[in-house]
């Protein structure tokens, strides 16, 4: 008997240790993935490694930074052996300061209206189109969305942006800052990002007897089967490393008793 043919979507192989195993081969091409995490959970490092692995495979990559100036971002990245400054110099990874982009677009204001949002989407899409970007990171969508006051506008912004980038074959990671990654927490700041995204990766800390262990969990990824287990993360000079978290040690809530 012949096995039934199963359709499987092409993947964007992240190249991150353990990640492609969790995703059974990688992120489906063109997906918009929300990487939500608490401060210090490794979101920026994960996202930057995603770009570096893409650049090493010959893909054009772009990083839009809204949380810290690009100079500071790159200075922090230099400590990692997987990152080379020549990738920036050679144009393999293109880093854009959102503040500079806002200035170009004349968006130096406290809040954005519908026209501003459309201008911003067009600018990002134009850059992606011009360079031929296939891997994109926006760090962070939370900071960016603070300027968009209406929930409906945030939804429209993310939905339209995701749709246009997918059409261009660009796989996108939107970084989202959250204050808690426990079971009852939201996976995004505004509550709408998680509904729009094709995938959600949650990053946070597990407290065990006063020590914080970083974890990563893929809670949603359209177009692929994937592990939904918590994985411990270590940020090494070679990049992110992952291993399944011990089942008897994965209590996240700080008020819960360890191991119980």
């Amino acid at each position: 008997m012949q096995p039934a043919t199963v359709y499987s979507r092409d993947r964007c192989v992240t190249g991150i240790h353990g990640m492609d195993e969790i995703l059974r081969g990688g992120i489906p091409y063109g997906s918009t993935v929300l990487a939500s995490g608490t401060c210090g959970s490794g979101k920026t490092t994960l996202a930057m490694e995603f770009l570096v692995r893409g650049a090493l495979a010959g893909e054009a990559c772009a990083h839009f930074t809204a949380t810290e100036p690009s100079v500071k971002l790159l200075e922090n990245m230099r400590q990692y052996a997987f990152f080379e400054m020549s990738m920036i110099d050679d144009g393999l990874i293109n880093v854009f300061d959102m503040d500079v982009l806002y200035s170009w677009l004349g968006l130096d204001k406290a809040s954005f209206d519908l026209d501003d949002v459309h201008a911003l989407i067009k600018a990002i899409v134009d850059i992606v189109n011009t360079i031929g970007v296939t891997r994109l990171v926006i760090d962070s969508v939370t900071t960016l969305c603070y300027k968009i006051k209406s929930e409906q506008l945030i939804r429209d912004f993310l939905f339209t942006l995701g749709k246009k980038l997918a059409t261009l074959g660009c796989t996108t990671i939107l970084i989202s800052e959250i204050t808690s990654a426990t079971e009852n927490a939201h996976w995004s700041s505004f509550g709408v990002e998680e509904a729009i995204a094709d995938g959600i990766i949650v990053m946070g800390d597990v407290e065990r007897m006063g020590h914080l262990l970083r974890f990563l969990q893929v809670v949603k990824m359209r177009g692929t089967a994937h592990s939904r287990a918590k994985h411990a993360i270590e940020l090494t000079p070679l990049g992110v490393m992952l291993t399944p978290m011990l089942k008897w040690g994965a209590v996240t809530d700080k008020t819960s008793k360890w191991g119980s």
Binding site: R208, M209, H211, L213, A232, I233, E234, T236, L238, M241, L242, T243, P244, M245, L246, K247, W248, G249, W258, G259
Partner: protein, 194 residues
């Protein structure tokens, strides 16, 4: 005069790279047994590896080896003890990395895997010293689960794992699981009269 137990070296000729060896020792002969295991691995079998120090700090272990004339500069030490002591991580050796606490078991595994990733040798071992020290901080079920993961992770990667324990002080569930997971046993444990 410090004497190594040559029968351990003989026993180690029977193991392969994907073996997991449970090494039982007593309180009084722990270092002799550890050294009698390490020395043939390094000198006879020309292996490099990772020594996970949970019982005492890496500096103390290195100095103990140096005192018996054994060069361990090619071995990487993962120290789970010294970061818990103020000033403990200020050490004169470059082959030591520190993990904050023995309860960060996943970090120990990842740190060891990282060292093995950057190792140029194809013949590596990982020596865990000791289950007893980990049992002070980690709950029995979690420790049994960890050792299960630990052993299988290294077996899959053809890295010899050596697990040191003082059997009469190891929680019974952990010990019985070790008996199940490990492929080989080197028994230099204490005789216990119940």
């Amino acid at each position: 005069m410090f004497e190594l137990d040559q029968r351990i070296a003989e026993q180690l000729t029977e193991v392969s790279l994907n073996s997991s060896v449970q090494v039982r020792c007593g309180n009084s002969n722990a270092f002799m047994v550890a050294a009698s295991t390490m020395v043939p691995l390094m000198q006879m079998f020309e292996m490099t590896g990772v020594y996970i120090c949970a019982t005492r700090g890496a500096v103390e272990v290195i100095e103990a080896f140096e005192a018996i004339g054994v060069d361990v500069s090619q071995i990487q030490f993962v120290d789970l003890v010294s970061a818990g002591i103020l000033g403990g991580t200020d050490v004169p050796y470059t082959n030591i990395t520190f993990v904050d606490s023995p309860i960060m078991l996943e970090s120990v595994l990842l740190r060891t895997l990282y060292i093995l990733r950057i190792s140029s040798s194809a013949r590596n071992f990982v020596l865990l010293d000791s289950v007893n020290a980990l049992a002070i901080y980690n709950e029995e079920r979690m420790l049994a689960e960890y050792l299960h993961t630990f052993i299988n992770t290294f077996r899959q990667r053809d890295v010899l794992s050596v697990i040191l324990n003082v059997p009469d002080q190891v929680p019974p569930m952990v010990l019985s699981n070790l008996d199940l997971y490990c492929t080989d046993l080197v028994d230099r444990g204490q005789v216990v009269i119940h």
